[in-house]
Symmetry: C2
Subunit: 352 residues, 2 copies
């Protein structure tokens, strides 16, 4: 079990965030904010997929007006994504956003920040301070070598947090993102050392779905494995529902999300296997798709690790020549001829 890093705990709308709450899955809409019907449809799709917080870009006054209407028509807590414009931040707070995201790279005027803090306090709105490696360099108008960027990001964060703390505002979520896997891990470890606010994790600009999964899993997953991270957003250049699927897989792998669907462990097979384990595993997966129970099922190809994995599984199949041994909670309870494996497995699954 992961020991979460201790953070402050508070609410974002109806949702609790921090070390005492589960890690929150979030995403972002990818349609024109002013197309209210399309936004609401995407929020619904995301929520049904398991997304608990949805962020929306609010670049113009018209978008702020659309945001107000969207908030009126959904139960899902929303985050307004603010860049450049303090007015957008205040409009979003007044429209009822559960949280706003500010980028220290592009809202720098202290008076503006104080006005935003006061509005957020008055409306009980949470604020994410979202530092992006690419944004920081942008405003410096000069290239900063990679080794120096981490320090720069941490300093930007410190300066910004201080303004909020001096105004006694504590409902802060912090994030620092890079498109580089390693710098993303490093900066977040530093942020976690320096602050006790909940952290939002994400690898930014990760790419098309087939390219984004692995670097996102490494970056977000290795931080979570060390107890760092209270909400995650997987960035994929594709349908945002895919972001939720990947986020759930990351959390499930680390025991931070408990799916109602069975988990399937399969040995990779080798020259020892005496039946086609991969074919069998695919059949088992298909059979499991109808089951809505949080079970652990193992499909193993031989005796090297088969009985051992069976001990951790609710049901395990250890394949042998023309047959499979069926284990329940580590105990071998049946020997099944190859052609009967799936129906027999289903029978045992129904009885659990």
């Amino acid at each position: 079990m992961i020991k979460r890093r201790k953070t402050r705990n508070f609410h974002i709308g109806p949702l609790k965030i921090g070390s005492e709450a589960p890690v929150i899955i979030q995403s972002m809409t990818k349609v024109d904010t002013q197309n209210i019907t399309a936004v609401l449809k995407q929020i619904k799709d995301l929520t049904q997929a398991g997304c608990e917080l949805v962020r929306i870009a609010v670049p113009t006054l018209k978008d702020s007006k659309a945001l107000r209407k969207i908030i009126e028509q959904t139960e899902t807590p929303l985050i307004a994504d603010i860049h450049f414009s303090p007015s957008r931040a205040i409009e979003a707070i007044e429209a009822g956003a559960a949280k706003i995201r500010l980028n220290p790279g592009n809202i720098k005027n202290k008076k503006d920040i104080l006005r935003i803090i006061d509005a957020a306090k008055a409306h009980n709105t949470a604020v994410r301070i979202g530092v992006n490696e690419a944004s920081i360099r942008d405003l410096k108008r000069q290239t900063v070598p990679p080794a120096k960027r981490i320090k720069l990001m941490l300093n930007e964060m410190k300066k910004y947090v201080r303004i909020f703390e001096n105004r006694s505002f504590a409902q802060l979520v912090l994030s620092a993102k890079s498109s580089d896997c390693l710098r993303n891990i490093k900066i977040n470890r530093l942020i976690a050392e320096h602050f006790d606010y909940p952290l939002h994790l994400g690898l930014t600009h990760a790419g098309l779905p087939e390219d984004a999964q692995i670097p996102s899993a490494i970056s977000i997953g290795s931080l979570l494995a060390d107890g760092i991270g209270d909400t995650i957003r997987v960035s994929v250049a594709g349908n945002p529902v895919m972001e939720i699927e990947i986020a759930k897989q990351i959390l499930t792998s680390l025991g931070l999300y408990h799916s109602a669907k069975p988990e399937l462990i399969v040995c990779p097979t080798c020259g020892r296997a005496q039946i086609d384990v991969i074919k069998l595993a695919k059949k088992v997966k298909k059979a499991l798709s109808k089951i809505e129970k949080p079970l652990r099922i193992a499909v193993m190809g031989c005796v090297v690790n088969g009985p051992g994995e069976a001990e951790d599984a609710d049901i395990a199949l250890c394949a042998a020549k023309n047959k499979a041994y069926l284990y329940k909670n580590g105990r071998r309870i049946a020997t099944i001829a190859e052609k009967n494996i799936i129906p027999e497995l289903l029978k045992h699954l129904e009885n659990i």
Copy 2:
């Protein structure tokens, strides 16, 4: 850049392993070892995909004989995967395997181990001590609670390593695998603390390809990010070539592998985007598929992080309404109408 954990360095056949060498990608054949033609075909496919070391199961005497013939017909260094039988280990060494893998869970007799060590020394064969969580429990014939397994694995490793060290054998690679992401990270951190031998990393029994990628990336990736790991094997219940693709993606994400193919950074898009960034990114990816240069290309949807990401990219496209700005090494050098983006991009790529 990752600072690799300092290890001993030696050769496995023609390959150097350890902190002074690149991380080695390995896999395993999944066809009947006695089907020599099929094994050679799979070794060839794996090698062409980027696999540098191939492991083969050798459960019977007939497999040992097949292994000898396979070794005669391939240049790729091979690892014999040995379980239960000390004779198989010695046969594999004498057949010319570059390395053998022993499982302390199922070869326990000290005399047998010493005989194997002497043979390995005589033939300059490397040995991997591969502890598996599932194997250890198997031989104990009792269920060990998860919290205690890590200690048990470490103790098994210590006992085994001591036998090798007392016999002055140092060409050891160590591995400890679990099918649980978190325990896999923990046990490998411990092994890395206790020993200075090169480490082999893998998450065992990860599952079908779509299920295996994310937990493998988290487990292997987070260890590599901390400098731990000298050779990796991704386990997927599928074509072993997929294991190589995933391994390469993990290493590339961490700057440990330098692909000849362009890397594509894409912003996930949001309500700010004024053109279809995902469609554009897919077109760019297709155009890049013909390019064999180690370039970094960014496709970004707006000005928030676009110019910043452009600084790290060889070529970046920042999309705006009906057009895109093209950046080369961070400098904006052209404004391109939407319909001309791909041909213009290709022209610039050719000039690099």
